[in-house]
Symmetry: C2
Subunit: 524 residues, 2 copies
């Protein structure tokens, strides 16, 4: 203990060893070079559990949850092995649970590199390489999104929700510059009530951002989707008009490329036309579907898009988090909307008019991990062709899987197999009900219970990790809409390129088996 030692004494950091930091790091990384690949080999094995059988109680009983006075030193590997046993196996091609999936080996290395650097991307001087790489990757993504290379910019945020929140707040403060100083109080005194529009099928982060931003859920106008899950541009126009007529101040539309549940792509051109007519900031939450827009066979983002969120940590194999917010008008817009220019931190040495190399002040936060380095390394290690391959393969996997669902559905003996919608991107949603329970006709409430129980049974068996979800479906009668909550269905997002036709058949078989067993046990 150093409580009374003078600072001239060197105090060894590890538990009793006299290693220098580089020796200590070498020992740990040599162990990692042996242990981590061994874990991956096991995790990829056909019979490897995916993690669905774990419970808070079982994990708590497995992990050592004490905080020893003296450190374990290299015995930490015992702990690490227990973490590996109680973590979800995202390497498995049968991890089909969420919109991210298997990390890439270069992605793992990139995380170690960020740890090694411990650079902080708020100001240039504390992350020079990170700043240059963030600007470079951001601009390349902007270019692929059809934004002007000279003025547009991409910034990383710790996940798509934060990217969307930044878009919403930046849009609010750009449209209502006085809001930065006066807040919504100043607007309210002048009876200006800002409202935002988003699709009924959009991610809930837009609502959370509106709650954070003081607009409240009442400040979010939910626009119905069509039968395929796409925001209805005609409805948007009517609702904007209605709110303008009421005296509200619409300023922001959140469109989605790849909705969370159905994987639907909103009609960006039609939405951009509405936004242009009413001077609305058009943001595209392309957290999931962005790679299809930017790396797909026919990239297209209309020029009316002001900002776009894309998460390379989803479809592009970069580990969590790596999310970019692309901003057509660049960092000057963000800095004016959000920056406070705290003088102790932002010395403005590296800034040049509109431009800045001190990215922190263009955000609502301060310290920032240089996540762009991860994307840059994955991109350069694998090449653009690989990114295109991942996207196209995921798309093809979704098409193939939908066809397999249809084929099973064509065999009456196998009960109901019905797609909720034809997949537009890389997500497939469907119902399965075993033969004896299958009522022909429209899906019924009971189908939802079957979907939920089937997923839980498949997951508990450990053979795959799959999820269920629901959405509203809308019916337009004249100018009105009726929303009907669909029964739960099974949602399978495709991402990991290691998924094969065999994986897909195995998952469908596991679903069919779980449903049959549940029926036999009279549990459904």
């Amino acid at each position: 203990m150093a409580s009374s030692s003078s600072s001239g004494d060197y105090i060894s950091s590890s538990s009793g060893t006299a290693q220098t930091a580089d020796e200590e790091l070498r020992a740990l990384l040599e162990d990692a070079a042996r242990e981590f690949p061994a874990y991956v080999r096991q995790a990829l094995a056909a019979e490897a559990p995916v993690g669905g059988g774990l419970s808070p109680a079982s994990v708590s009983a497995t992990l050592p949850l004490t905080f020893p006075s003296t450190g374990l030193g290299p015995s930490i590997w015992h702990d690490i092995h227990l973490v590996l046993r109680t973590a979800t196996n995202t390497w498995s091609p049968r991890f089909l649970y969420k919109l991210y999936a298997s990390p890439t080996p270069i992605g793992v290395l990139s995380e170690a590199l960020l740890g090694l650097l411990n650079n902080n991307a708020h100001v240039f001087a504390s992350s020079p390489a990170g700043a240059v790489i963030e600007r470079s990757v951001g601009r390349e993504l902007c270019r692929l999104a059809g934004m002007p290379a000279e003025t547009s910019a991409g910034l990383t945020f710790p996940g798509g929700s934060y990217s969307n929140m930044h878009a919403l707040v930046a849009a609010r403060n750009t449209r209502f510059p006085e809001c930065k100083r006066e807040g919504l109080w100043g607007l309210a005194k002048r009876k200006v009530r800002p409202v935002v529009f988003t699709s009924a099928h959009a991610h809930y982060s837009v609502e959370k951002a509106a709650v954070a931003a003081g607009l409240g859920l009442d400040g979010v106008v939910v626009v119905p989707a069509d039968h395929e899950g796409r925001m209805d541009a005609r409805a948007l126009r009517a609702m904007v008009q209605e709110h303008v007529a009421q005296g509200d101040a619409p300023f922001f539309v959140n469109a989605t490329a790849g909705t969370t549940v159905l994987g639907a792509f909103d009609p960006l051109d039609a939405l951009a036309a509405v936004c242009a007519d009413f001077n609305l900031w058009l943001h595209v939450d392309a957290s999931w579907g962005g790679p299809l827009l930017l790396f797909g066979p026919s990239p297209h983002v209309p020029p009316g898009v002001h900002s776009l969120t894309i998460n390379p940590h989803k479809l592009l194999g970069v580990p969590l988090h790596c999310s970019f917010l692309l901003v057509r008008d660049g960092l000057g817009t963000m800095r004016r909307a959000l920056g406070l220019g705290a003088s102790y931190l932002y010395h403005n040495v590296e800034n040049d008019g509109e431009d800045t190399w001190d990215f922190g002040d263009a955000t609502l936060a301060c310290g920032r991990r240089p996540d762009a380095i991860k994307m840059w390394l994955v991109w350069r290690y694998h090449g653009t062709q690989y990114l295109r391959m991942r996207v196209q393969r995921a798309r093809q996997l979704a098409r193939d899987f939908a066809q397999m669902v249809r084929e099973r559905g064509a065999q009456a003996s196998r009960g109901v197999w019905r797609l909720v919608v034809e997949p537009q991107g890389t997500t497939v949603c469907f119902w399965h009900v075993p033969r004896d329970l299958a009522a022909d006709g429209e899906p019924e409430a009971r189908w939802g219970e079957v979907a939920r129980l089937v997923c839980e049974r498949v997951n508990a068996g450990g053979g795959a990790l799959i999820d269920y979800a629901t959405v509203d479906r809308f019916t337009r009668a004249e100018d009105g809409y009726e929303a009907r909550g669909l029964p739960c269905f099974i949602r399978i997002p495709f991402n990991n390129p290691e998924v094969t036709r065999d994986t897909q058949n195995a998952v469908l078989d596991a679903i069919e088996r779980a449903a049959r067993e549940l029926a036999e046990l009279k549990l459904i």
Copy 2:
């Protein structure tokens, strides 16, 4: 390219090699086990540059900023070496630039582990180990902060700014529950204007959070600090009373333990008394000084504290980011304030009344890196004694350094060496002016220019990375305050336990030399 391939074909992920993922990972980690320690060995060398000589132009000229169609594969190490050359060297004990510093070897490994897991801590099922560890570490930190173990909880956020923002928004929606639905518009209609209080020396993230939350900068009441940089509790009370009398609705006080510039500790007991009297949520931004409160010789957090931000990525050697928000009333409070319970994601399977294992819905975001695992590994690898040692050593280093400044100041031939304040924690702020320029008496505007130019010269020389800053100093006359902007001074935060008396002398010598050279060159 896979554009037309059936998904039954396996497509190798890397550039032309037939490695499996585990082989690819082994090759990369074996390289890392050789290259990363070699980097650390160089970075720790006495003559190693710290990174201050880098510019956007030089870094852009060094790094390959193209996006090749075909990937580089293992040649990526060429890129990685260029990143290491153009990054800031945070391993050096002469990196004294910001409040974070050298990562630990186990910290680097922990980042690689998070990359390997790629688990997402929004719901239990996608990060079982991460959820259990986050709860466990959070509770232990709450216990050390004197919060009740059974009801309090700690949650990680991607940095202290986000932790503070969550505290502010949660406090707003707890005090004004209707705000979640109606936003500030509903409050404004009832003439309720929420305002927050923070010290003039507090971190700007509170202002940013207020801007985000729609309160605006006008909704932030800035409370003067005393001559040592501590928020004046008497002034706070008077200002709260004044705003209540005006009809405003105070709800939140942000106190600081370890201010960003001076490293001052606000008087938490006195502030808690004010908050109790006016029913205000007392948040403590202990991003920097938290370890002194929790791991110092006399830990003390008064029971009136509702929430506290602590960043293990600063003083405790965990790599960026690792920030905990400790909440006395636990996750139920956070979930009620911020959660939307998106049904597709939060199936509530693992939730138990007030409690939840799906942490994402207690936040404003969705996906979350399980950063708590990093803290848990550092803690168990090194032990609590090590964490206490780091804190006490940093404190001792600050005391010693202040004494060295005073000793130089006692030698008239060395010019002015004057502490701005006596260090309360682990930060030392001072002026140095060479003899010929030293005006005796109060610091003058010219001293600030000297501090800035000296820092720039020291940094450009590559021998250390140090920073300058300023704050207002307040003079109380009767009930009024007068703020005087101090001239810039040099701010040295102590953190890295590898700093020795020799490091400290070398830095002071470099400062003295830079000042003398600037004077000789007539640049100051």
